[in-house]
């Protein structure tokens, strides 16, 4: 089974602190993602990475940065935590797109970690 783990289930930090959220997957997936989930807003993509040392901004990258030094690990960094970053953070991974016979692209499903509930006081 695919396993995606996140470093903490619950985290409490103070405003202005630097926060690291770690995500590790064990399936040699090319793609990794960070989302935040807030009531009524669904999941919003913060950053994603499709290869080591590669990153792409998602829909809400402001106030966040990421690091992907190794294929299995994708870190989300809050440089200076603020109260509006209190949220549930979800990491996910997936294989990169593969091509089926006939030239049809097949994009694989995303596998999610259990989430980290971050509270910034």
């Amino acid at each position: 089974d695919v396993k995606v783990t996140q470093s903490s289930r619950y985290l409490v930090k103070r405003t202005g602190e630097k926060v690291f959220l770690e995500c590790v997957q064990d399936m040699d997936h090319e793609n990794m993602f960070w989302y935040r989930q807030d009531p009524g807003l669904g999941l919003r993509l913060i950053y994603f990475s499709y290869d080591v040392k590669m990153k792409e901004k998602g829909d809400i990258p402001e106030g966040y940065s990421v690091s992907r030094e190794k294929k299995e690990r994708f870190s989300l960094i809050l440089e200076s935590a603020s109260t509006n970053q209190t949220s549930m953070y979800l990491c996910a991974s997936s294989f990169g797109p593969r091509w089926l016979a006939g030239g049809t692209p097949s994009t694989d499903t995303q596998y999610f970690g259990p989430g980290t509930r971050l509270t910034v006081l």
Binding site: G42, L43, Y50, G58, L90, A92, T107, P114, G115
Partner: protein, 110 residues
């Protein structure tokens, strides 16, 4: 935005009844996926339907896709209390980037 919009936002049914959730999206897609999230947990993939498919089954799940209407539905038959969760549709166009909607919260009452 390719955000999937689920409808209804909340649904409450008795155990044994069928539950139907709908999803609408805005532009052309390669595929559409449905995910489930139990309270306070990560999302779990349920089923994927490709743009050239109209219906797909997996156990008690039935998914339909109407690309002309840009809509999909998820039917859970003979619901169980364990089906209580939030359900998200995820339409996908480009390179592995999906946009999740706010979800449908399903409560199955024993």
């Amino acid at each position: 935005s390719q955000q999937g919009e689920e409808d209804p936002q909340a649904l409450s049914i008795q155990e044994g009844e069928n539950a139907t959730m709908n999803c609408s999206y805005k532009t052309s897609i390669n595929n559409l996926q449905w995910y489930r999230q139990n309270s306070g947990r990560g999302l779990v993939h349920l089923i994927l339907i490709r743009s050239n498919e109209r219906e797909k089954h997996s156990g008690r799940l039935r998914v339909t896709l109407d690309t002309s209407k840009k809509s999909s539905s998820l039917l859970i038959t003979a619901s169980r209390a364990a089906d209580t969760a939030s359900y998200f549709c995820a339409p996908k166009t480009s390179y592995d980037k999906v946009i999740f909607g706010p979800g449908t919260s399903l409560s199955v009452i024993p």
